[in-house]
Symmetry: C2
DNA sequence: TCAACTTTAAGCCACTTGGCTTAGATATGC
DNA sequence: GCATATCTAAGCCAAGTGGCTTAAAGTTGA
């Protein structure tokens, strides 16, 4: 596997360059599969000390990537809410799903790279205790609002059941991104992505808001 | 994190002990986060050479874990098919979902450990190209039969769309196992697992067999 | 201009890693 | 019994790892 396209743009500062390079390398070879030296080198640093200087440790870098993308996505989420309110779609359950998921697509489109999904998978596997299940607290406002709305919609479920269904959504969507990534990497666009996205969102809405079984 | 419970039973041969120990360690600390030395040590080996002897390389060990569990699960899958035929449930679409997913639960119950889900996630992330998308060929017979039946049920979808929906199922289920694992690890059984399992299967069936949107 | 601060470079260090060789132990087949 | 094949132990090695110190370069503000 070459370093193809791993070196990010030289326009941004070195801290961001390290974040972008690490995201790609982590996605390709695993969070523990890349040395800090290589990350620094790919980011154009002549010395691996730069990583320690900016992020302290490997886990610090991992968290920085997550926070960096989280912040980017939340801007988009707030915009989407504003647009939905303007268009009178704010009551539509599907809006919640779109607000949570589509900004990740936007990330891919805007930056032309699709490493984030793979990175996020690994991140969630590493930090399931910390990240899963925080329906409230310590989340950026856009995502927080989406989760609060979701909880209200799912008032027929217990806390743990609602939480579980939320995680379902995350994983279903990661699956879509994984397939998308695979198709992009292999060069064959096996399916129209917009079509796949539409089908997946419909699946997610159907599963997420599925009524509980009626007695008898 | 201690080595608590990482050392597997001494009754099995050392090759299997290494597989079991590696599965747990990989799940906890990442496939690239554990040295072969530690795996060997936890498996009761005095020397890390044992890993190289049995599996050659780290990837060889990873594949061996996957194959080991795959084989175990396929026995159960064939049994389930036989039971379904006997009970006349073979036409029920839900059977397909159960045959694919429940053996993994059985794995957890039988061996009292829940590292497999986390390991499998990492495995699929590593080998998405190889594993995803092989609807046919090179699969054990039970799983192969389930996938063939699924494909027939989804005849209103294109190949790529059907494939994508299958992966959706895998990820949704992994999500359930992830939550289950989290609850078990943290000691709190936040939700009745049987109830959660039932809800998840219903979600999966609803999403997997969701009709395509009608025109107009 | 120059001082204070931030960022990069260079190189050292003890330690771990996976691969390897060799020898010894244990099981297996005849 | 005994030879053959299978498995385990012991230890060496070059390469790579993250952490660290020190110095230099660049940036900023007064």
């Amino acid at each position: 596997m070459s370093e193809r396209k791993a070196r990010p743009d030289d326009q941004v500062d070195s801290r961001t360059r390290i974040i972008l390079a690490a995201e790609i390398l982590f996605a390709r070879e695993g969070i523990d599969g890349v040395s800090l030296r290589r990350i620094a080198a790919v980011a154009g640093q002549k010395n691996h000390h730069a990583v320690q200087y900016h992020f302290g440790t490997r886990d610090g870098l991992v968290q920085a990537i997550f926070d960096y993308r989280m912040e980017q996505m939340d801007e988009r989420r707030l915009t989407m809410f504003a647009e939905a309110e303007r268009d009178g779609r704010i009551g539509d359950p599907r809006i919640i799903v779109e607000v949570i998921l589509l900004p990740q697509i936007a990330l891919i489109d805007r930056f032309g790279d699709h490493s984030y999904a793979n990175f996020l998978c690994q991140y969630l596997l590493r930090n399931s205790d910390a990240e899963f299940g925080r329906f409230g607290g310590n989340l950026p406002p856009g995502l927080q609002r989406a989760l609060t709305m979701l909880r209200q919609r799912l008032d027929f479920l217990s806390d743990s059941a609602a939480q579980r269904r939320l995680i379902t959504v995350c994983f279903m969507f990661l699956n879509l991104l994984a397939v998308y990534t695979r198709d992009l990497e292999s060069g064959r666009a096996s399916e129209d992505f917009d079509e796949a996205l539409e089908d997946t969102i419909r699946q997610i809405v159907a599963a997420l808001f599925l009524p509980v079984r009626q007695e008898g």
